[in-house]
Subunit: 209 residues, 2 copies
């Protein structure tokens, strides 16, 4: 598709959309990781969702509804910035894409619910396990897993801010998962060593994706 024309590379830690933003273009992530997040006055951040290659940033913004959170890259990214007109055109002429987009929205909403349940009723160990299962699943479907392992360019801070605990504790939780032989994570490479146990621990069900 002609979207490649609009793709550009952006640095890590670039704010793609500010809170309350109303813009006239759509953003589509082609490579790299980004996040939706909110901040408190204290500076504390809550990551609401990870955006991975293939995800769209829009959320009614094109219809004039201001965004209620910010979007920022977590790694260097390839992002397509598609003008509103071209984007609407694309959807109008490719109903399958429009359908896929609707599907993606529902999946993202389901994921948000999953995260809420995750933070609200799971222990830190279970939470982390659940998130890793989800990442494995999502990245798997877009072909980012090779040889049972994948590149996970997220820092422990990024994980902690998504799961709602401190980085120190996040670190210890990851160590526990490693010590128990469930995962291996080093040098930004994640490998799930015991998928079944990890899923069981997290009570992970992949049907929402």
């Amino acid at each position: 598709m002609g979207l490649a024309y609009y793709v550009r590379s952006v640095e890590r830690h670039t704010v793609l959309l500010e809170q309350e933003a109303v813009v006239d273009y759509a953003l589509i992530l082609f490579a790299g990781f980004a996040s939706r997040y909110k901040r408190r006055m204290s500076g504390r951040r809550q990551i609401l969702a990870y955006l991975i290659p293939g995800d769209h940033c829009d959320r009614g913004v094109l219809d004039g509804y201001p965004l209620n959170h910010a979007i920022e890259t977590l790694t260097r990214c390839e992002v397509a910035k598609v003008p509103r007109a071209a984007y609407l055109n694309l959807l109008a002429f490719h109903p399958r894409i429009a359908l896929a987009l609707q599907h993606a929205r529902l999946a993202e909403e389901a994921t948000a619910h999953e995260w809420m349940a995750n933070i609200g009723m799971r222990s830190s160990l279970e939470r982390t396990a659940h998130l890793l299962c989800e990442l494995m699943e999502r990245l798997g479907t877009i072909g980012l897993i090779s040889g049972g392992q994948l590149d996970l360019p997220l820092t422990q801070v990024d994980l902690a801010d998504a799961l709602g605990h401190s980085t120190v504790h996040q670190n210890r939780v990851l160590q526990t998962l490693r010590r128990d032989g469930l995962i291996s994570l080093q040098e930004r490479r994640l490998r799930i060593l015991a998928p079944r146990q990890l899923r069981e621990l997290a009570e992970f069900e992949d049907d929402y994706l």
Copy 2:
């Protein structure tokens, strides 16, 4: 509108939609409180959203996407069960309603994000304050506040399950809010005694609703 025809009364604690449900009718809440929620194997429940009068239950279910959570009444309710055809008809012939529905969806999504941030990065006291502010706001816009107070038929268990803490702790948090003169809550009637302080405590911003 002719929806009144479809309205019926349902008992408290009635499951309106089961997880994974795919149905051919839309549900609209006319009176009472309901909740979207998930359950863990342990029986623990996480409430994902409160549904109040005027809210629609559908969530892509009419488009054949199974629901990823269950919906249950928290009080006796008046619910309209509108057949798919009639519902689509309604939306097609009343674009303003369709627009309002889209708006409502985005608001609900924004609220979900707000809740995630709430659970993820606020203390139990702040969380509770935030939820009460939100309820006050939402119920106010549909005219359910009279004389500065409102009927809040939710139990402390319902609040605790939405906020992600134990009922015992929820009880103590409410007592603290009362002791500090921020709210008064008894016999199912809530009154916000110090709106400004409560909002400040919760860092509550109402622009997402």
